[in-house]
Amino acid sequence: MTLCELSAAELARMVRGRKISAREVVRAHVARVAQYDPALNCFTDRLFDRATREAAVLDTRIAAGEDVGALAGVPIAVKNLFDVAGIATRAGSKILRDAPPARADAPVLARLIQAGAACLGALNMDEFAYGFVTENAHDGVTRNPHDVTRVAGGSSGGSAAAVVAGFAAITLGSDTNGSIRLPAGLCGVLGLKPTYGRVDRTGTFPFVDSFDHLGPFARSAEDLALVYDLIQDSDPPGAPPEIGRVAILDDWFEQNADPDMLQAVADVAKGLGAREKVTLPEAKRARAAAFCITAFEGGQLHKQNLIGRPRDFDPATRPRLLAGALQPAETIFYAQRFRAWFREQARDIFRNFDLLLAPATPCTAPLIGQKTMLVNGQEVPLRPNLGIYTQPISFIGLPVVCVPVTTGKLPRGVQIIAAAGQERRALAAAALLERAGVVRAPVARLG
């Protein structure tokens, strides 16, 4: 196994044990990015000098006998909506291209650096995080490392693709309607969307205040848990919880999925001993409410630039923001009331079950440029429908670990959904599935 295939935990153990230097680890990853990223387009900003400096400092501290942290020498990268000291936080836009450089790293990134990580740069995304495909009009498309004719998913497409390409062991992304879970599933890596409000969003460019979350991508459950411990304070580490009772979500979460996706859910269910099915009522309307609130809050956020610089938006983003900002207040107020009602329905289900399973997407990674997809034999627009299974869940802020089932030609993501505040139960389930061989996230073969 090469250095770029090792997990963050394994790399850090080797660096701390002086089996390899942090500089060697960073050098190997830099070489891989330089060789293969021109074909994949994960990175929007390459900060190789910074990463090399951080690794050199770490090696000096290790030589001095210091305790250097859980991510010693681990190469990481972040979606380009996180503040990274010295570069403009563009959030995938042209409009913010001339913004002043960030004066400091976002606090979540700073925590990873403090734990010994080295930051290789910033990663591609859909403009202003409003999309599921990372086909960015300004920065280009990020290609899926498993099949470069296909999308990586979005909006954190660069973050997911960079991990499965072996460019970085850990990346950070954001998830408003599925932007961590969806690309994690399409690229075949693990992604964690924590409970709404769990992780501090300071120093990141917002999209929809009601639904924005930050979280990590990794190739192992251990790495996800490692980062989770570092980026939040309100859920201290302890003994892993019991998996508990697991159910498969039916109705909306089965209706429009490809049979292959439902098989992946069945494989995960079998691995967790789940036999029962349960209905999360009115998930279709939850998705509709999330859809309207997203367009409204996003449109309001960008209103001044929609007035002053409408031609500088990505054509895929602009009409949805403009239309969203012009919605009647009644719709948004009703959607926020529905959110409170829907949260109660989920709480009722969690009185009987501890984890719920659902596909991350209705299908595997679509082709780049694909406009429509088939669901139940009907042709529907691709972009708005890729997130139909993720939107109802982030709508009420539940924590989710998205795990990849990689037995087929293309990865298939499955959401392991826990009750609010129960991230560790979903992480424990992901670890169990890894041990059982159901979930794997191998680095993609490139070249």
Binding site: E282, R285, A289, C292, I307, P315, R318, P319, G324, P328
Partner: protein, 60 residues
Amino acid sequence: MSQDEMTAYLDAASALLGLPILPEHRDEVLAAFAVLTQQARLLAAFALPEHIEAAPRFIP
């Protein structure tokens, strides 16, 4: 809502909120608004109990 009614609403809202739509963007905005309207109708067709309060609450 007919296409004409939707166009009239968008024009009125655009003027009221001071958010102009450039002529070359009108068709794409109208299409996006039609999708939103479809979703809003689906939502509005569900009768929420009266006691349900909106989710974001101000906590002093």
